[in-house]
């Protein structure tokens, strides 16, 4: 089980790798599309990387509900372990 802080840090690393987002910008209130310029295909890459890193699968229909970094953190927290 990863802590909220660990998830946020891990997610920030993924965002940097996949979409070139500066880790300091990857704060919970940020919207992937509006604030971080992450498009729908990059969201798929993020989902794949989240699965590799945290063992949490995010299917396409769930992916549509994840709008902010905070949404992603909660989803991972809820579904891990």
């Amino acid at each position: 089980m990863s802590s909220t802080q660990e998830i946020q840090t891990g997610l920030a690393e993924i965002l940097e790798e996949v979409a070139g987002v500066t880790p300091a910008d990857a704060t919970p209130e940020k919207s992937f599309t509006d604030d971080l310029d992450v498009d729908s295909l990059s969201m798929v890459e993020i989902a794949t990387a989240v699965e590799d890193k945290f063992g949490v699968a995010i299917p396409d229909d769930e992916l549509g509900n994840i709008k902010t970094v905070g949404d992603a953190i909660s989803y991972i927290e809820k579904n891990q372990g």
Binding site: D39, S40, L41, M43, V44, E45, A47, D60, L63
Partner: protein
Amino acid sequence: MTTLQLPAGAPGARLLGFGSYRPRRRVTNDELAQRMETNDEWIQARVGIAERRWAEPDETLVEMSVAAGGKALAASGLDANDIDLVLLATTSPPKAIPGLAPRIAHQLGVPRPGAFDVNAGCAGWCYALSAAADAIRTGSARNALVIGGERLTDYTNLDDRATAVIFADGAGAAVVGPADEPTIGPVVWGSDGDLHEAIAIPENETGMSMAGQAVYRWATTKLTDTLVEAMRRAGVGPDDIDVFAPHQANLRIIELMAKRLKLPERTVIARDIVRSGNTSSASVPLALAALLESGEAKSGDLALLLGYGAGLTFAGQVVVLP
């Protein structure tokens, strides 16, 4: 029980020459932006396409396939009389009946060959190439013409910004003949039929739809293994690959695959999608023909091929370029 006789066949098969046909009409992203809510930046960022070719009415699937096939024949040094198998990989025939390979063969002057169409989505040409190589190795055919031809615009809603920016038309072809040494590697093919709805013409509609995220996920997670296995079965590794020519579906998928395979810097990566869009089963031979024409790829180069698409289907193989 009677034992039947089998022909001797050939120790291997090889590619002898490529040919292609690109429709005359060039359609830029700016032109599309005039007819629908889209723009050049969005299209380039999402799929990597700068322009594509759309066939005019006289550029039928048969005419484009005959043109590409004729050029492949000329490049191979063979004559139409030498060909005894003609395969057309296509997903976009104007009618279900008749299949078009016999007519294409006839127009090329190929006398009474085995001829049939292959619909394996965008993997069709790689499927057909494997079928042709196997036919030559087993003695069912001597020389084969393998064409990938598409008029995807006939099955695309040209006002739908999700698909009209992607799909395009064209034809590519190669001649395959016998060889003393195998230079067309074993195919790694398969299908994931549970995802049959991901790329399809929906009920009561005439244009294709594509579940972009689902296909992107499938292509970027499942198909690297196919490529690795195709190299392993052929007895080569990423460092041996001179040319990587996957189906031209999306530039981002192409770049991601190349990165995950850890191909060396020197490997030439086919990016024909930038100027041709997604031409389904024509994309791999179109890309290879372009690389050979420009000199970026040369005779003897080892190329890693991958087709994948509607079905969902996939097929990968390693080949030596003619």
